[in-house]
């Protein structure tokens, strides 16, 4: 029995808290990744996963992802998302994500960290063979902060696979690891005992029971080592040694009650009932809902009886009887309270979330009698898993309900936008079409000018750069020349000479000013281009604004409808799971209370018989002394 007890205790508790926490980051280049870390560092796993998932989704949709700032963190981000999922108790997805990292193109240290996480998942899920296979994939450099933890995990996995002999060398190598002080010697002790090297194992448990206490975790493992060792010694009737070991356990720790009980029995078995009364009396002052305290309520009068103080014993048995009856009534009330749904209501109290020691606090809540007897059960792994799932589901339900409201608000925003933009758009479009036609015409003109100027660079045409006045003069001169030619009369020489002179003057002006005019034409073209550029930007801005306006209300209906359906379905599923999970929590609590009630009933029967026996003995003693009862 002791073996089983030891193994169970080992596997349940003997590892230091190794909470998931993102590894130290190198220089942060992606703010959105940093945002996911911000949530993760606060233990807001849902938000951390959601943010990082979104970023990774967007990243993988990019045409050139290597240009994105997340690229340099990709391996870490994909590893972290698995890590966050693990912390959010999504082991299946975490396993897949971490496996993908291991098989991906990442640095060896990142891969080794991922392997460690994956092995832990398998270990926690009771799959030691898979855990070992994962650990066997470790290659190259191991992150410095993981070296000891990896060895410890390997030892734990081997122990879980009943390969105690193989676990021993790993644990021996960890005896200098400060972060595992207490845990390494304790587990080494257990591994050796289970490997039939009991003497050596006890020596390590003895060492673990004397380690220097640095924090509450080392204090607890030290107490546990002493408790286990003490119970082993008690079982083999080495009462004196057992007593010494039990007395090492702190009175304020989680194992104090069982140690006090054991310490008393170590004395009682040696016939030192007076000594046994010392620890038992201390224990009797403890919390009455504690099984050890209830047991000691029979042990103390038993010791008094053995000391010949039958009257005291009888009175104490009577007191125990009374207390057991009160407690049985309390258990009945608690059971009814649980069946009325008050237990779940107490578990989800907001104020408890702020208290790290909330399980103990629960017992102290004045208006939550249903929790008084459930401390041990609530500290169990199964209960904690159920409860965490229940609380997660409750939080998910809250989110889904909020998102339903959000989607309704989005639909309203879209309706308002549609009502505003749709009547405006036809008029805007008409105005825009006019503007568009004018702009096209301008562009065509500009293109013609450009073409003409380019031609002139090859074949100069001064007439093409004539001003409007010059063109009019040229036309008038042509007309005069035609008139003179058509009249057939002899025209005054002076007039003919004058027309020729004017023609010559015009040609002179065009020919000599050609270069200057061409330069000016190019300057004007540049100015025109600048104005067209401004116009083009305005045109683009208008097109974009129009597109934005339309996109602000078009194309969302289907997405919103789809999400509403998904949320609705998820809400139904969450409600079902909450009911099931809550029901299991209640069943577990009721079973626990029923069990405790049955035990109290047994104790009450014992107390009743023992009380009667003590009264008989007291009467006989008094009769012997000649005292009338």
């Amino acid at each position: 029995m002791n073996r089983l007890l030891i193994l169970l205790i080992t596997l349940l508790f003997a590892n230091p808290a190794l909470a998931a926490s993102p590894a130290a980051q190198r220089e942060l280049k992606d703010l959105f990744f940093g945002e996911a870390l911000y949530h993760a560092y606060q233990g807001e796993w849902f938000d951390a996963i959601a943010r990082l998932d979104t970023e990774l989704t967007l990243f993988h949709a990019l045409d050139e992802p290597e240009l994105d700032s997340l690229y340099s963190h990709l391996g870490q981000a994909e590893f972290d998302v698995g890590d966050f999922e693990l912390a959010y108790r999504m082991h299946q997805r975490a396993g897949r994500a971490i496996t993908a990292v291991i098989e991906g193109d990442v640095e060896q240290t990142v891969r080794n960290r991922a392997i460690y996480r994956l092995a832990r998942i398998y270990f926690q899920k009771g799959q030691p063979v898979n855990a070992l296979q994962a650990l066997d994939r470790l290659r190259g450099e191991t992150p410095a902060d993981l070296v000891d933890n990896l060895l410890f995990l390997r030892a734990e996995v081997l122990m879980a696979d009943s390969r105690f002999n193989e676990a021993v060398p790993f644990l021996e190598n960890l005896q200098g690891a400060k972060s595992l002080a207490g845990f390494a010697p304790y587990n080494l002790g257990i591994a050796l005992i289970d490997d039939d090297r009991e003497e050596e194992g006890r020596q390590w448990l003895d060492r673990a029971g004397q380690i220097e206490v640095r924090d509450s975790a080392t204090a607890a493992i030290r107490d546990k080592a002493n408790l286990v060792l003490g119970e082993m010694l008690l079982e083999e009737k080495n009462f004196e040694a057992a007593k010494l070991i039990f007395d090492r356990v702190r009175l304020s720790g989680p194992f104090s009650d069982r140690a006090l009980l054991g310490s008393g029995w170590a004395d009682a078995y040696r016939g030192r009932f007076d000594l046994a009364l010392v620890p038992w009396s201390i224990l009797a002052e403890g919390e009455i809902t504690d099984p050890s305290v209830q047991e000691v309520m029979l042990a103390v009068p038993y010791a008094y009886g053995r000391l010949g103080l039958y009257s005291n014993a009888a009175l104490m048995y009577g007191r125990a009887l009374e207390v057991f009856s009160i407690e049985i009534n309390k258990l009945d009330v608690s059971t009814q309270s649980i069946l009325d749904g008050k237990f779940l209501a107490a578990l989800v109290r907001e104020e408890l979330k702020q208290d790290a020691n909330w399980v103990v606090t629960l017992r102290e809540l004045p208006d939550a009698p249903e929790t008084y007897y459930l401390l041990d059960m609530m500290a169990s792994n199964d209960f904690q898993e159920y409860l965490k799932n229940y609380l997660d589901l409750k939080e998910i339900r809250r989110k889904l309900e909020r998102w339903q409201d959000d989607l309704n608000a989005y639909a309203e925003i879209i309706a308002v936008r549609r009502a505003y933009y749709e009547p405006l758009l036809p008029e805007i479009d008409r105005a825009f079409q006019k503007l568009d036609a004018r702009m096209r015409s301008c562009l065509q003109q500009r293109d013609r000018i450009v073409k003409r100027l380019q031609t002139m660079l090859l074949m100069p045409r001064p007439d093409a750069l004539a001003t409007a006045a010059e063109r009019i003069i040229a036309a008038q001169l042509t007309r005069l020349e035609q008139t003179v030619a058509a009249s057939g009369q002899k025209v005054d020489n002076a007039i003919s000479a004058r027309i020729k002179r004017l023609r010559g003057l015009l040609l002179w002006s065009l020919q000599t000013g050609y270069d200057q005019r061409l330069t000016e034409a190019y300057t004007d073209l540049q100015e025109l281009n600048q104005k067209i550029d401004v116009l083009g930007r305005q045109y683009t801005a208008f097109v974009r604004s129009r597109q934005t306006a339309i996109q602000s209300y078009q194309g969302y209906d289907e997405t919103i409808r789809l999400q509403q359906v998904r949320i609705e379905e998820a809400l139904i599923k969450v409600q079902e799971l909450m009911a099931e999970q809550g029901n299991r929590l209640e069943i577990m609590a009721v079973n626990e209370l029923t069990l405790r009630r049955e035990r109290l009933e047994e104790l009450r029967v014992k107390a009743r018989f023992a009380m009667a026996d003590s009264y008989d003995r007291a009467s006989r003693v008094q009769e012997k002394r000649g005292v009338k009862p």
Binding site: M1, L4, L8, L12, A24, Q25, L28, L31, G34, E35, L37, Y38, A40, Y41, Q42, F46, A50, D53, T54, T57, L58, Y88, R89, M90, R93, P291, E295, D376, S380, E385, N389, D392, L393, I396, K399, L400, D406, Y410, I413, I414, R544, T548, Q551, S552, Y556, T559, Q563, R566, A570, K573, V574, L577, E580, Q581, R584, M588, N591, L595, K606, A610
Partner: protein, 171 residues
């Protein structure tokens, strides 16, 4: 050993065994099945969250007007950040009081998304003020004035706080 003593010892032993047996009471398979269903629904809800996040950005903060302001602490900063105020375009847009957990997250290198909103392209005045305490307990009060240059794409502004100064960068 008397009959009562024996019976007490048997009871105590039974209690001890019962205590261990309790942990195994619930069916492992049942736990596994329900746990897997809870994991599945978490996955579904996370996928909805991602879709909603994208929808929200597209609908409420279109990329051409979107601006997001992130806050982080400079490396190794030990001062206690109590609160932060942001004024954009002369309007107070964010005021945040920091909890212990948030401050720790910033110290570890996390980046807080403090504000997401819409602004037009062009220049926008931004004023950042923070209050806190130094390691030695003296008050810190710092204000920095900057200009956000908003281009066509989503605007991203990073504010880095240090005991001595406020740094700003935008893109």
């Amino acid at each position: 050993m008397s009959r009562i003593q024996k019976s007490i010892i048997i009871t105590l032993a039974a209690l001890l065994i019962g205590h261990i047996a309790l942990a195994e009471e619930a069916s492992r398979e049942q736990i596994k099945g329900l746990d897997e269903q809870v994991q599945e629904i978490k996955g579904d809800v996370l996928s909805i969250a991602t879709e909603l996040k994208l929808l929200e950005e597209k609908l409420l903060y279109p990329s051409n007007t979107q601006v997001t302001i992130f806050v982080s602490l400079a490396d190794g900063e030990k001062f206690r950040l109590d609160s932060l105020d942001l004024t954009l375009d002369n309007k107070a847009v964010a005021h945040h009081l920091y909890t212990f957990k948030e401050l720790e997250a910033l110290r570890k290198g996390g980046v807080q998304r403090l504000y997401t909103g819409n602004i037009s392209t062009g220049e926008h005045p931004l004023v950042v003020s923070f209050y806190g305490k130094t390691d030695s307990g003296s008050d810190i009060e710092k204000t920095g004035s900057f200009t956000v240059n908003k281009n066509i794409g989503p605007g991203i502004v990073e504010i880095i706080l240090a005991e001595q100064m406020i740094s700003f960068s935008d893109k």
